[in-house]
Amino acid sequence: MKMNLEDRLKENPELKKQFDVLDAYIGELATLEGSLINVLHRAQEIFGYLPDEVLEFASSRLNLPRSTVYGVVTFYHFFSRLPKGRHTVSVCLGTACYVRGGNAVYEKVMKTLGIKAGETTQDGRFSLDIVRCVGACGLAPVVVIDKDTYGRSTPEKVVTLLNKYA
């Protein structure tokens, strides 16, 4: 049987620290009603993804059934149940990017990293995502790596770009 969350946190001070940050965030909210999505956003910032423990915590802290929390987490693309790599590569396949060859860029990234969208490389260096429009259509096709956006990308350029991220 799994230990309950509190006992597990006692054994893992690092994890406890992260949960304290989340707890403090929830404590500062004006109202808890309707705050689940905001809390999950904050949690993903802190933990990098949303493991079972976080869902459990959010459910008890916001007084919501776990099924509700799980339902929300799995509904929205933005939330990840799996750990992400050190860098997240998001290839835009919105219309403008698609029309200007975003697909070729995506295929090149897939080939280079050996993973598909939603996966992470074995060395934990990169995660790959497809996004639908980042609103920089003027510079299509666009690739976003972590928080940096790169416009007018090509299959060749994107490989050089990836090499910049260790």
Partner: protein
Amino acid sequence: MIRNQLLVCAGGACITSGEKSVKDVLVDELKKHGIEDEVQVIETGCMGACDLGPIVVVYPEGTFYQKVTVKNADLIVSEHLVKGRTVGELLYTEPTSEKKARTSGDIPFYTRQVKRVLRNCGAIDPLSIEEYIARDGYFALGKALEMTPDDIIQVLLDSGLRGRGGAGFPTGLKWKAAREANGSPKYVVCNGDEGDPGAFMDRSVLEGDPHSIIEAMAIAGHAIGAEKGYMYVRAEYPLAMERFEYAIGKAREYGFLGQSILGTGFNFDIEIRIGAGAFVCGEETALLRSIEGKRGTPSIKPPFPAQAGLWNKPTLINNVETYANIPQIITNGAEWFRSVGSTKSPGTKVFALAGNVQNTGLVEVPMGTTLRELIFDIGGGIPGGKKFKAAQTGGPSGGVITGDYLDMPIDFDTVKDIGTIMGSGGLIVLDEDSCMVDVAKFYLGFTVDESCGKCTPCREGTRQMYQMMERICDGKGRDGDIEKLSRLANVIEDTSLCGLGQSAPNPVLSTIRFYEDEYRAHIYEKKCPSHVCKHLLIYSIMPDKCVGCTACARQCPVDAITGEVKKTHMIDQSKCSKCGSCYEVCRFGAIRKE
């Protein structure tokens, strides 16, 4: 004493093109020349000409410098500001006349626009509430608070403003319904879930002129009797969130939000809610569920949000661009608003011009402007000497406008008549190389991904359609597929629960309507006339051009190419996987794709 101002465009596209480093160079250079106290550097919202970024405009002259890089940004300081000489190499050159443009007033991209919604974007510092006020900001709120709610709604009804989110429902009627609804409290919501891939006007307004939305939401609060507003922004727009949050803080500080606004006893405040990447949340009932922190699934209307919205209370929900029109309508009146645009669709519309077009970016034009003016006069035409094929509007819910309709005035009703929708204003230009079957498949794939799964026609029906489209593009199309697609499309339109499902078949229906011959070529001749659909291509080597360099044979991943050195090579069609690597690697243009 400030003698010059440098306006640096900090819109999404310019940031992507390196705006931050350019700004740093400018600031450093100003210090180096000891004029940092005389010249102010201001980061503005999007200036619209995304292709020309990063853009720096020097005021008071209004000199428009484009494609500024870290290597030449110093010239703006050392030449323009220190020596008073215009930096010729950074000016925009008009491609046909080859004339240099000094200010944005000399560039056709700008001169044909009518800036109302975007009037402050790129003109003021979005972080400065003072600059917004200096441009008559919050004047409308003051005026509205002296008017009765019924008078405000009457002005909106008279103005003829229609919702800019896509469907074009009269805004005044929405406000009236929310005002007349029983229940309390009431809520004001702004739909900033701009999910249509290819549209980015809402993002630009939120980033470039956030106070205009705050002001409009407060006016709405007074008009319908609400004290609380929610701004729903999609998670993909962090900068918009950041600037809007900052603007809310400033508005509170100045007494435009909070308790007893402008001493009138009217209370109103706004809270930001962040989306989490679900296209369906752009549908208003789904969006309201998402604000409540739930799965964003839509519900049947009626009841409309005006009667039972957020937490089952009367809720007014409008799109960002709609709100951005409100303060100016209140300030200048309904007549002023109607002075541009068409009779049934007054005012302006912001389009996001993207795809195969020379000048990409945001353009605001009167309703009723023709596609020709938009794409050729403002957009500068199709790059690479290619021919125009079609324009796609309304994203995954819309359809195509063909070359036959280039001179048709575009407004909510005219586009509907030819089977597409205005949508939020994404305008994707397609050139002759685009395969319309592939484009329709692309949009359908988007809807399949984004269907929330609540109702069967949308969840299962779009998937069935997608599989058929995939088969057609893979060369496995069968006789009767076009009829089957149309039949299924009609069922999905009739029986889906929300706008997403009801409009999902549009891209397919619209392309069948205008490009049935392309569908037929795919199905019956197993050919893709535009050479896009991979599985329908045949690669062959032209003997007269092949020099036998062996490059293609070495590149071929399935060893389908044979031939001796310096002799003509051959492709074994039974082995060819149509990957196209021979085509890419051949330096002699000897590979034919057909």
